[in-house]
Amino acid sequence: MSDLLIEILAEEIPAGVLPQARTELLQGLAAALKEQRINGTFFIHSTSRRLVVIARDLPEAQDDMVAETTGPPASAAYDAAGKPTKAAEGFARSQGVAVEDLLVKATTKGDYCTARRLVAGRPTPEVVAEVLPPILTKMSFPRMMRWGDGSFVWVRPVHSLVALFDGAVIDLSLFGVEAGRMTHGHRTLAPGRLIIVGVQDYLQKLRSSFVEPDFAVRRRQLVERAEALAAEVGGHPGHDQALFDTWTHLVECPGLVRGTFDPRFLALPEEILVTTMRHHQKVLPVRDGEGILTPHFLAVADQAGDPKGLIARGNEWVLNARFADARFFFEDDSKTRLEDRVERLAALSFQEKLGDYLKKTTRLERLSEELAELLGLPEEKPEASRAARLLKADLVTGMVGEFPELQGIVGGLYARKEGEAEEVWQAVYDQYRPATAEDEVPRTEAGGIVALADRLDTLAGFFGLGLVPTGSKDPYALRRSALGVVKILLDKGWHLDLASAVGKALAQHDGLPRAAGEVVPELVTFLLDRLRFLLDRRGHRADEIEAVLTTDCRDVVDAAERVAAVSAIRGQADFGPLSTAFKRVQNILAQAGEGTGEPDPEKLTEDAERQLASDYLQARELIDELVTQRSYGEALQVMASLGPSLDRFFTEVLVMAPDPEVRANRFALLRSMRDQFSRVARFSEIQS
């Protein structure tokens, strides 16, 4: 069996694209060779500068293959005497077989002349040379570039290409580089050329040139080293999987150093320390047994060691400088209370036509109180409106200027420091939660209220201006705001009438060009779209969601409860016929057109319809009661119990009776049932 080695040596490939690039190259090459009848075992390796594929157990060539080609119909290929005609001879010539070797095969269209020939398998390296270039050149990177004379496009400039099959160079070229057997070691530790004779030789030479090509090996070494270095100072490095992955992608030689910062910086809020370390410097804080930050940190280095301590010292210097910068802002900010910053928000524009952040603050104070009222939480009004007052004040602090990703958190920390009540500072701290569909919502009720108010104010303002997201364009991240509203309501279990809440939010804005009558339904629909998205992520099926969201939905918690009830009942035996029957109901009523009026039992003529009406009218009151109590599961059970009588009705009764009064009465019965059932879901939407 044979082996294959491919190495692309490039300038540093962004850590963020390497996972996808590895998958694309590995799967792309394995699949392309498989399609060419070449199977083997494939491995992918990568470093910050290399993508490597190693394949073992490959055949030297494709298997030989018998190819069959269909030619002219037998009737045209042979004359009455069974002698080959000119057509048969021409076909045989074109296929490179002797005319006497042609076969006749029966097909559905009749007998056809067929050529069968042995196709010799092509050598594997030849096939690799053919399939590899398009895989590499078509790899999808979020940002491509040109270099040098500008002839080639890839994620970063490509320097060399090793392509060896059983140690022999494969004849191919890519990005203007001829494949060969030459590569380089580590950029600074062993930059010389390496001449590669085969797979084992490659791995050995790289490793002795300070390059570990195997991601898993580098990562394991980093984790072990992190644990050992942290243990030396009595701490542990935690389980920051994402940072270990990033570190591993950033290096060829997995080195780690431990540094120490000035312990006086530990007086700064932990959030600021961790953000500086983790996000700005990509270093890992060391925590003690209780999980408390120590003045130690770990930094990755593309280096075998740090005998003079230069790398640790450099990282310490940078981190101390960054902390000093943060402390400067922290101390400078402490000179002014958040309360006194609120007026300064007048200088910060929220949106040209929606005014500045001071105006927004005033709107949020009022809206938070209105929402507390609508939610039946009037006792939350003082905390919510205080939190709303301080909510945006951190936007005019130096700290948020420096750490924009800590917006809200900085405000919360400052509010706590200034002695605001716990509910208030936590509400400020949590205001941007949830940031994603998986994120936690604000801890407190006041926090939930101001977070809703903030998002509804933004949504109402932008929709009121007609700045509505279209397609993939959502420059103001309004979908995320709407998702936040829905998620907070769902997770808190808050029943909020969306139209009323949106109406209150709109009422806080002055001079919006669009009328509330137009904006409210549009924005409610927009919010329900986010509900659709969230329910889908929770694993509900699309038809269940549609069955509920196509009814009158004013409250996302209620809608979610109804979807859950539909999900739970749909598997039951009596539910399938009911949904089929309701499709008929829907069709009939669509033909009949909308109408009004109660069914009149006196005017019912057939047994089957009398039974349906009697069953239904009895059930109706019970359904009313159950729906009012939001016992949707039970309500659905009662509805499902009407399935047999509905079926009998459709079997025995002709709805389109010639007598218009009889007909109208039947429509009224079906309409009443549909409307009653639609208080939970539209059964006609459910796919059986």
Binding site: E11, G314, Q351
Partner: protein
């Protein structure tokens, strides 16, 4: 290592690699990229190699000389080479050796950092270069400038001179580094930082700045119409700086911002097009072969006119501190 020695070493090094030593542009700019030696020279087919110091002004970064890391005006060392050579990263690493940094003893990493300038209609792809965790250089392959796709591609290397000096000298404050031996940076610049911060944040008259912006914008447009794009570009740079001042002064609302940036970009785009047209009319003079007389626009490059290495000055070899006897790498 002091500030001016760092500059001298970088200049000697890059001159030895065939770079023309340009000089700082005589106008306020936000970055070395805005110097015509970068922004305009990256356009079109002509080869180019230049290195220069560029004082760069960012009024919003002003801290009245009170913050140890923030300055309104800082100095960048800018290197541009077109087309980007295959060994550009090695050349860069050698420049660090020339500063006395032995990369074998340090952690040197290139981490993705792409660059975009909406006001110049320009973007590029590259890295920030980290030395022991400190960002010391921006490394960019220019892809587009003035809205024009570039071919060949220019490599741009921008060293932050104060930061690099602070790091090499392990000083806690920019004002403590030596500009020249025994002369602290703070003595040369601290008062200026205070005064230009005060101007930018407190004194600048937004009404006047807006008026100037409009006048310079109109003047730039007039120059474009008269087909003098280099003069138009000077005036566009004035607009760019005025915008930065207005922004620092808090006189630009979030929505105005987008519109004003677009006005500056429109000028930059027109200057770029005008510049390419005028170089083309001249037959792209830098395309002629080294040592040959001008041949016209279809001449091809074998050895660029710029790029013949300058010998190293004898008295100060690179990579050696006084008393260091190691061989030059």
């Amino acid at each position: 290592m002091d500030f001016q020695t760092l500059i001298l070493k970088l200049s000697s090094y890059w001159a030895s690699k065939g770079c023309l030593l340009e000089q700082p542009y005589d106008q306020e700019v936000g970055a070395g990229t805005m110097h015509p030696a970068t922004f305009l020279r990256v356009l079109g087919p002509e080869p180019w190699r230049a290195a220069y110091v560029q004082p760069s002004r960012r009024p919003a970064d002003g801290r009245y000389g009170q913050n140890p890391f923030r300055l309104v005006k800082h100095y960048q060392y800018q290197v541009v080479i077109k087309p980007s050579p295959d060994d550009i990263q090695d050349l860069y690493v050698d420049s660090l050796r020339a500063l006395g940094v032995d990369p074998k003893e340090h952690d040197l990493r290139f981490e993705e950092d792409n660059w975009e300038s909406p006001t110049l209609g320009a973007w590029g792809v590259g890295w920030q270069v980290l030395l022991d965790g400190m960002e010391i250089t921006q490394f960019t392959y220019f892809q587009q400038a003035g809205g024009l796709d570039l071919k060949p591609i220019t490599a741009e290397i921008t060293y932050g001179l104060e930061r690099l000096t602070m790091f090499l000298a392990k000083k806690e404050s920019v004002f403590e580094i030596d500009w020249a031996p025994g002369v602290p940076y703070g003595e040369v610049r601290k008062q200026e930082e205070f005064e230009i911060s005060k101007y930018g944040f407190e004194l600048a008259d937004p009404q006047l700045l807006w008026l100037l912006f409009e006048r310079y914008e109109a003047e730039s447009a007039r120059c474009l119409a008269a087909k003098v794009p280099l003069a138009a570009y000077d005036l566009a740079l004035k607009c760019s700086h005025l915008f930065n001042l207005l922004d620092a002064r808090g006189a630009v609302s979030a929505t105005d911002r987008v519109a004003v940036i677009k006005r500056v970009r429109d000028l930059a785009v027109k200057c770029a097009r005008g510049y390419v047209a005028s170089r083309e009319a001249l037959g792209f003079p830098l395309l002629r072969k080294a040592g040959e007389p001008f041949q016209g626009s279809d001449a091809t490059v074998e050895e660029p006119l710029l790029g013949s290495p300058t010998p190293l000055p004898e008295e100060e070899p690179f990579g050696q501190e006084p008393g260091d006897t190691r061989p030059v790498a």
